[in-house]
């Protein structure tokens, strides 16, 4: 299991979700993706994406200047 840090600060939709999907393509089940973004839409978008792809939305934190979104990869076929 590894942690992948994705910095999408300064990008607006679809920047953060694009970065998330590109990281996800390289990830394996069990990996953690930590996405940081200052576009407020990144939180609901990531949540919706996790629901639709059966990955785990671990949570999000408001860090004042940006949001830190944590996702566990679980949806990939074995």
């Amino acid at each position: 299991m590894r942690t992948m840090n994705v910095d999408s600060r300064g990008t607006a939709c679809p920047g953060p979700i694009t970065d998330l999907i590109r990281a996800y393509k390289k990830a394996e089940n069990g990996d953690i993706i930590v996405l940081i973004a200052n576009d407020p839409g990144a939180v609901p978008d990531s949540k919706a994406w996790c629901e639709q792809t059966k990955n785990v939305f671990v949570g999000s934190k408001d860090m004042e200047d940006y949001f830190e979104i944590t996702i566990q990869v679980a949806g990939k076929r074995l």
């Binding site: 679809p14 694009t18 999907i21 590109r22």
Partner: protein
């Protein structure tokens, strides 16, 4: 003498070289400035026109022009591809050539191209309307033979250039089969890795009702992993499968190969570029524009155009000592044809979210005007029109 090297003779490279050559004509004539444009390609293509070639049968030769005819006087064309750029030492090398070519300024505008290796099986199965006018022309002949079945269109992977084009392909296929009177025999399914039909919510609100009205099915959050051309089946990273009879996916794209491990690119090879001043990392004499950058905006010709003008203005200002500095606002303006002579536009900047613009015939006509003036604009003409249209987004000082 100040040597300006431009790598890539696509939209960005041509517009930037024309702007530089036009405004530095006196300096070029006196031998104070030289402009070199590197690229093996001898023809330039109007890529948005590939949609019309593939889905309406437009003559592909109308979408191409020889580069020689588009280059402004004073620009030296070098028909070689770049193999290496050494930014700290200010030299480059072309393919298979050991000679070091010095530069004072460099602009990397090498674009992006399909990366079929990312998705096994896609190359053989796909009808790629997106990449080449002549291939698009062959696809039109195949479309004419389709009488029934399931068509799958959409986004094959990220990133890709021309964000609206997968949606446009769905709308144009719908139009084609309606006009042919066989729409009820053809199923059209749109797939996307995003959670909406169009990634930006405002545009999604515009086009989602059109998908419903035209009976175009959509499958969101579908991350294409592989394609089996024999079984005619697409499989997602999550293991879901979709059957198709005809496949029209927009492939993921990659930057020029020499950029990977260049020292100034990210792990995939996209050039690390400041989104405002367009400097490559910390080099104030190195610039990147267009698809080749890692700037998180659309990979589209309009970006290459507007970024090229900003970069050219800053180089001109430095050479002429005016002290002015210009910045890119992140302006995008991508047309999206919704079929039956209507279009919307995806318009936004770094600081203003994408607007909701209803489809109209007027928008479609604006798109067609751009097609008419495209070739002259590469040659530095119609600058007054772009200044008027984009206002402060043309460049910000």
């Amino acid at each position: 003498m100040k040597k300006i090297a431009i790598i890539g003779n696509g939209v960005g490279g041509l517009i930037t070289s024309s702007k530089l050559a036009k405004d530095l004509a006196k300096e070029i004539k006196s031998g104070e400035v030289s402009i070199m444009l590197f690229d093996k390609k001898t023809e330039q293509e109007f890529q948005p026109g590939n949609l019309d070639v593939a889905f309406r049968g437009t003559d592909p030769s109308k979408m191409r022009r020889p580069v020689e005819k588009l280059v402004y006087d004073g620009v030296k064309i070098i028909h070689d591809n770049c193999e290496k750029v050494d930014l700290p030492n200010r030299y480059l090398k072309t393919e298979g050539n050991d000679e070091k070519i010095d530069f004072d300024y460099i602009i990397i505008s090498t674009g992006s191209s399909p990366d079929y290796d990312q998705i096994p099986g896609l190359r053989d199965a796909n009808m790629d309307f997106h990449t080449n006018a002549y291939t698009s022309s062959l696809i039109y002949q195949k479309i004419l033979k389709i009488k029934s079945g399931r068509i799958v269109v959409g986004i094959g992977g990220l990133p890709y250039k021309c964000p609206p084009s997968p949606n446009e392909s769905a709308f144009m296929l719908d139009e084609h089969f309606r006009k042919a009177g066989i729409r009820d025999k053809v199923e059209i399914t749109y797939i996307t890795p995003f959670t909406r039909i169009y990634s930006a919510d405002s545009i999604n609100e515009v086009i989602e009702p059109i998908y419903k009205a035209r009976s175009i099915e959509s499958i969101t959050a579908f991350n294409t992993d592989s394609v089996d051309a024999t079984k005619k089946e697409i499989t997602s990273l999550e293991g879901e499968t979709i059957k198709y009879d005809y496949l029209f996916l927009t492939p993921p794209h990659k930057p020029a190969d020499f950029l990977k491990n260049s020292g100034f690119s990210d792990e995939d090879g996209w050039v690390k570029t400041d989104k405002r001043n367009l400097h490559i990392t910390d080099y104030d004499y190195g610039f990147a524009i267009g698809d080749t950058t890692n700037i998180p905006i659309s990979k589209a010709g309009v970006e290459a155009h507007l970024e090229g003008i900003v970069v050219a203005n800053n180089i001109i200002s430095e050479i002429q000592g005016t002290g002015k500095r210009y910045k890119f606002t992140g302006r995008t303006q991508c047309s999206m044809e919704t079929g039956f002579h209507k279009a919307t536009f995806v318009v936004g900047t770094y600081d203003t979210p994408v607007q909701k613009i209803p489809p109209s015939t007027f928008n479609y006509m604006e798109k067609k005007v751009m097609e008419k003036i495209y070739w002259e604009s590469l040659h530095g003409q119609y600058e007054w029109l772009f200044k008027y249209h984009f206002k402060k987004d043309y460049f910000e000082d």
